[in-house]
Symmetry: C2
Subunit: 341 residues, 2 copies
């Protein structure tokens, strides 16, 4: 028996001792697995956009230098965590070995995407990234990665291109959390801020399938409004600047039981609170959300709303998002044009 | 009939037009009230600690200069919002006039504390703050303040010193939210991080009164542990650095249904997630909480926890906190030594 630290991969931390893998300077990327680990034969890394941009700029766009920099990071740290941005990315590979006590339910030979960050994933590269020109976030790679007992991986479906699956898995926490809030609260009406984006349109579809009857999608301009109307995911499409609280309130009109924030710009907190009825719930999925702005804003408006930090993990989130994509033509119509094929 | 903007005081915004009062450069502090407003005869301002410190430093500790600076801010802006820190404070006064459509339930003659920030409260000063030496956050003052329909004020109780009431009202959102989470979720076990502070000890008392049966208080050192044990508010007192996730997990042991974060330092997010059982809830009351750290941390640990942004407003929050203080000797024992009398 191991303690809970083992499930989090603390035994792989080399420096400094006693921290979680994400906070570690160096991980042990030894391909030999313990009883509750899984080894992945890596096929491709998906670098975080902010990380790739920083590396490209630091190397003045020299792809060969970017490649050398990534190799150096992985060799030095035992993981792909950009020391400047702190960010990582995700990876695709084939399950290569499964420890007898692994709770992840994976089988050797399955193709998977890791849904935990590369910043905490032990990684060894064995091909010097020779198939990569250093000019794209998509990195063909050979090597091994380790999943812990409390990691998450999604089996890649056969019926969708990898690029589509990755685009959906990247935001799969939002629709799952939206569905759960609708089901637990019995809410009927929902407003989604940033409704034409990936997480926004999936959240609308999730709310509908969870029983919502009044769905409002708020978007920033007429172009997005036209696309969202054509997709048929919302009962009502309104246009407003999500960072202008009074404009949001005016556009939304009657406040909703649940508001889901999927815009990726700062300043949407107060509009989201105003869009939500007393006793309702706001789910913040934007990483640009300010904790104090949300907390003090609701207090300053005497708004009796429950505010949730959107958790990227909900059991079943990957399968739900992929199924919504398959079964909802409007979601496909909005997401497909965004995929680099 | 007015729109919802009126209840928020948008009609008092002079510059720039169309923003909420908190975001305004200037408010109209005219003492004449509209039908849904309340006028307060001001007795004392309580400046936000960060604001007072900034003013004192900018004036090199010259109290007369600090007094002039506060007067200038209030005259220029129509509210006491420090333009450098952006913060305000709260005030005490007597209800002077109540509009016939005010929903706040106040009566002329009641002594009240405003529970919304001074940053959004129209304020006029009429005594030049002549009773104030500029050397304390407590500012004796005469003048008028305006409450909107969606403001909040608490009637000051006769049986407690003002300083005690203010200290409790300052944190009254935490116990109310804790009680609500316990009641709605049927949770039995709770961990409070920062349990010996004002909001922490009130949250423990609120959890107990809401039916919690296993209460754990986490504090940072043996001195606080001794005080919390003596207060008798927790079934178990443990000592750990709240910013060290593995230390928190080890100290807490079995994870709890609900974790309440009352420490006022950054970095408590991951420890709070680890202290919480799958399916449980974390309530973040620390203004030092990082939204991305909470969201990405829970995802990285595949933690199926609900995370709440602690809303400073819950209906009945002031009365609940004052009643917990009166009825709980352990709460009084922890809070009284903190009051400047």
């Amino acid at each position: 028996m191991h303690g809970p630290e083992h499930a989090l991969g603390v035994h792989r931390v080399l420096e400094p001792p006693g921290v979680l893998p994400q906070a570690a300077l160096r991980l042990d990327a030894d391909p030999a697995i313990t009883a509750d680990e899984v080894r992945i034969a890596v096929q491709r890394l998906n670098l975080d956009a902010a990380s790739f941009r920083q590396l490209s700029e630091a190397c003045a766009g020299d792809g060969e230098a970017v490649r050398a920099a990534v190799l150096d990071i992985v060799r030095t740290r035992g993981k792909m965590q950009n020391p400047v941005t702190g960010s990582g990315g995700m990876l695709i590979g084939v399950v290569d070995a499964v420890g007898p006590e692994s709770p992840l339910g994976l089988s050797v030979g399955q193709r998977v995407a890791t849904l935990v960050s590369l910043t905490l994933t032990p990684l060894r590269i064995t091909d010097d990234l020779r198939e990569w020109d250093g000019r794209s976030e998509q990195v063909p790679a050979e090597g091994t990665a380790i999943l812990f007992a409390r990691s998450i991986a999604a089996v890649l479906p056969d019926d969708l291109p990898d690029a589509v699956s990755l685009a959906i898995l990247d935001v799969c926490g939002a629709p799952a959390a939206t569905a759960r809030v609708m089901e637990r609260s019995g809410a009927r009406s929902v407003v989604v801020l940033g409704a034409a984006g990936k997480s926004g349109c999936l959240s609308l579809a999730a709310a509908r399938s969870a029983g919502a009857r009044q769905l409002t999608g708020l978007v920033r301009n007429e172009q997005e409004a036209a696309a969202l109307r054509a997709a048929g995911l919302a009962d009502r499409v309104v246009v407003a600047d999500a960072t202008d609280p009074l404009a949001v309130a005016a556009a939304v009109g009657e406040a909703a039981d649940v508001t889901v924030v999927c815009v990726d710009v700062p300043g949407a907190e107060h509009g989201a609170v105003l869009a939500t009825a007393d006793g309702g719930t706001v789910v913040f999925f934007s990483m640009a959300t300010s904790f104090p702005a949300a907390a003090l804003g609701a207090e300053g408006m005497a708004a009796d709303v429950t505010m949730l930090v959107g958790n990227g993990y909900t059991p079943g989130h990957a399968a739900l998002a992929l199924e919504l994509y398959r079964s909802t033509p409007g979601v496909r119509a909005l997401i497909e044009p965004r995929i680099d094929s």
